[in-house]
């Protein structure tokens, strides 16, 4: 298990809550699918199609020693927040007989919040769905968000 590495303030800031510290823990599971599937269409940097997003500003997917990893930059009040980087749990092909990886699932675990990230790439567009579940005893509703990303210009 990778050492907890990042400070995440994004959702707390959105909710107007002062944050002292929040950790991201990497996921230990390493998917064998990563090795079997061709994932080059996903491995790149992605930028939200909506520059005014209050959700996720940018995403980086990279291959590290055979493991696909995702790093997310959140956005709040115009300033990005680093969610940190976690291992992608599973990579998925476009169908059962395909070897073209085009979707993935990853999980972020913060002290107050769990976020399930589900992404898929189609025609140069990355679609990210995020399922946010609070476990901090607050009155906030668990919520769902869906955002779109294009490849970052080099």
């Amino acid at each position: 298990m990778q050492e907890p590495s990042s400070i995440h303030l994004w959702v707390m800031a959105r909710a107007g809550v002062k944050v002292e510290r929040c950790r991201v823990e990497a996921i230990e599971i390493k998917s064998s699918d990563t090795a079997r599937l061709e994932i080059s269409t996903m491995v790149r940097s992605w930028v939200n199609t909506n520059p005014a997003t209050q959700g996720i500003a940018s995403v980086q997917l990279r291959l590290v020693e055979g493991e696909l990893r995702i790093a997310i930059q959140g956005a709040a009040q115009g300033a990005p927040f680093n969610w940190g980087e976690v291992a992608v749990e599973t990579v998925y092909a476009e169908n059962a007989s395909s070897r073209r990886g085009m979707a993935f699932v990853a999980n972020y675990h913060f002290e107050f919040l769990d976020t399930l990230i589900e992404g898929n790439v189609n025609a140069g567009l990355l679609v990210l769905a995020a399922f946010h579940t609070f476990h901090d005893g607050s009155h906030r509703s668990n919520y769902f968000s869906r955002e779109f990303f294009h490849e970052a210009a080099l």
Binding site: R14, A15, D33, R36, L37, T90, V91, Y92, A93, E94, N95, A96, S97, S98, R99, M102, A103, V105, L116, E118, N120, A129, F131, H132, T133, F134, D136, G137, S138, H139, R140, S141, N142, Y143, F144, R146
Partner: protein, 134 residues
């Protein structure tokens, strides 16, 4: 029961934001008459969650998927209207993580199906559309 324990129980109960499940609950049928993965599904309201039953359409997976608990999500932290869910079905040698959300009365199901038993098929992604029936 002491005062502190009672307060903690009240806080816990209040912390669970109760969501309106009416947009999601019901019976749904695939808009495609020859569906690739899911033929129909049922979402039954439970205590701040849905009980989901699926009838499959893929020859490589069961026709009756059984039931699973679907966790529900609102559009934002202040909303009490559930409009999305996530559920995980164990299909024996595979599992399927289903993401569902409603757009203009259409239920969109995105599936992430993971092969667990080493069979000769890739873990795969799918998207299908459903309309509500009585």
């Amino acid at each position: 029961m002491n005062h502190v324990a009672l307060e903690q129980m009240q806080e816990h109960a209040a912390a669970e934001a109760e969501l309106d499940l009416s947009l999601l609950a019901g019976n749904w049928v695939n808009t495609n008459l020859s569906p690739s993965f899911i033929r129909s599904l049922q979402l039954e309201p439970g205590p701040n969650q849905l009980i989901m039953r699926v009838t499959g359409a893929d020859s490589g997976s069961p026709k009756d998927w059984g039931e699973a608990t679907a966790q529900v999500f609102a559009e934002n932290t202040a909303s009490t209207q559930a409009m999305a869910f996530s559920a995980l079905f164990d299909l024996g040698g595979m599992d399927s993580l289903l993401q569902g959300y409603v757009v203009k009365g259409v239920l969109v199901i995105v599936s992430f199906t993971r092969v667990k038993d080493g069979r000769e098929r890739s873990s795969s992604f799918g998207k299908e559309f459903f309309y509500r029936v009585p």
